[in-house]
Symmetry: C2
Subunit: 210 residues, 2 copies
DNA sequence: CATTGTGAATCCGTTCACAGCG
DNA sequence: CGCTGTGAACGGATTCACAATG
């Protein structure tokens, strides 16, 4: 069990990885922390500190080898082998996520959607992700080897579905419902509450004008 | 111009407001900070500190009047009068947001979607939100009096659309693209990067098992 | 007298600044 | 010589603990 890495560091490293991919595509082979900081509007010391949690990656007097750091970061963040994702709830949001680039790339692949609505079951999302019955979840999860789940269901169904996913071996959960999901042992839970984003916006607007 | 309120405080107050509504529906008229803290897994002192930024709301020896605090909070966060929202990008995500409860309630109302795809223009989302041409944005914005915009467009269109919205009087922007939107003067911007949530999850999983 | 509002103490992340090194 | 890696300083947010008070 590694010492905990802060949420902020995690996000910056994700951003950094994305940026490194772009630099690599541009053909840059080497980059200093100052360059990286400038490109991604961060502080150079912060980049070095973030990386220092995991070892030494740079070359003094030179900077970082872009391709090298990119692949090491990818491995560190658990993104080098693709993960199977399942989405529970085939409403508008669930369908949007299932077809989204964010959930289907080198690192993630949506294997199936699950819903309780008999009219949806058996059909597919636009890109072809099958919609199956939630009753099939327990068997399907182990068959697919899913490790990540996304919950796009009504608030009152969240906890039950989360526990079903956890029992089926899912280790990470993204909860999109407007009801925070209490911690589940052995599972990393991240609540993504859209209402909070929107209200945060109006809050700042209200504060700024008084 | 009020002194800045931290992001964390903002989120907690949103959550608190939501909780107060629930308590009010349950018929509770009074609640201590300890009770609130317990219900929403927070620290009671934190709740009091958060509220202290804005004045004194409680009654010593008693606690807080639920309905009273609820309405004061609502006003403070700029949620007492409904705001008009426009969504740019009528892809899966844009459509999902347009029909979502989070964007259509007492405080927010989606007036229209905008897209560049001629085949979509003129049609409507499932709940009836009209899809219009982005070329109409400038006129439409002032006509509708929209103050909030959501960007669900490809990364390379983000900045242009953001500037168009800003020019049309939009004061708050939610950006769902996987490319952070640099600050725009006079506009509050919130980047909501789904990829970051997903990667954050795998990162924690990778860290926990080493 | 129970509970708020708040100064003081603590914790944690960020920034600075420089020693160490390729 | 230039840039990394890092100990030390800083600052903001959380938590503690208690005096103030309806």
């Amino acid at each position: 069990m590694k010492s905990a890495i802060s949420e902020a560091t995690t996000q910056r490293l994700s951003l950094l990885l994305r940026g490194l991919k772009a630099l690599e595509a541009e053909g840059l082979t080497t980059a200093s922390s100052a360059l990286l900081a400038e490109r991604f509007s961060l502080n150079s010391a912060q980049i070095r500190k973030d990386l220092a949690h995991f070892g030494e990656f740079g070359v003094r007097g030179v900077g970082y080898r872009v391709a090298d750091l990119r692949s090491k970061l990818q491995a560190l963040m658990g993104l080098s082998t693709p993960r199977t994702v399942v989405i529970v709830g085939a409403g508008n949001l669930g369908l949007a996520l299932a077809d989204s680039r964010n959930f289907n790339n080198e690192s993630f692949k949506v294997a199936a959607l699950f819903d309780v609505d008999g009219r949806k079951i058996g059909s597919r999302s636009k890109t072809g992700v099958p919609i199956r019955a939630v009753s099939e979840l327990p068997q399907a999860l182990s068959a697919m080897g899913a490790t990540i789940g996304a919950l796009a269901v009504p608030p009152d169904a969240v906890r039950e579905m989360a526990l079903t996913l956890a029992a089926g071996g899912v280790k990470g959960l993204l909860n999109f419902a407007a009801a925070p999901l209490a911690p589940i042992p052995g599972v990393v839970v991240k609540n993504v509450d859209m209402a909070l984003f929107l209200e945060g916006l109006t809050f700042q607007l209200a504060s700024a004008s008084s």
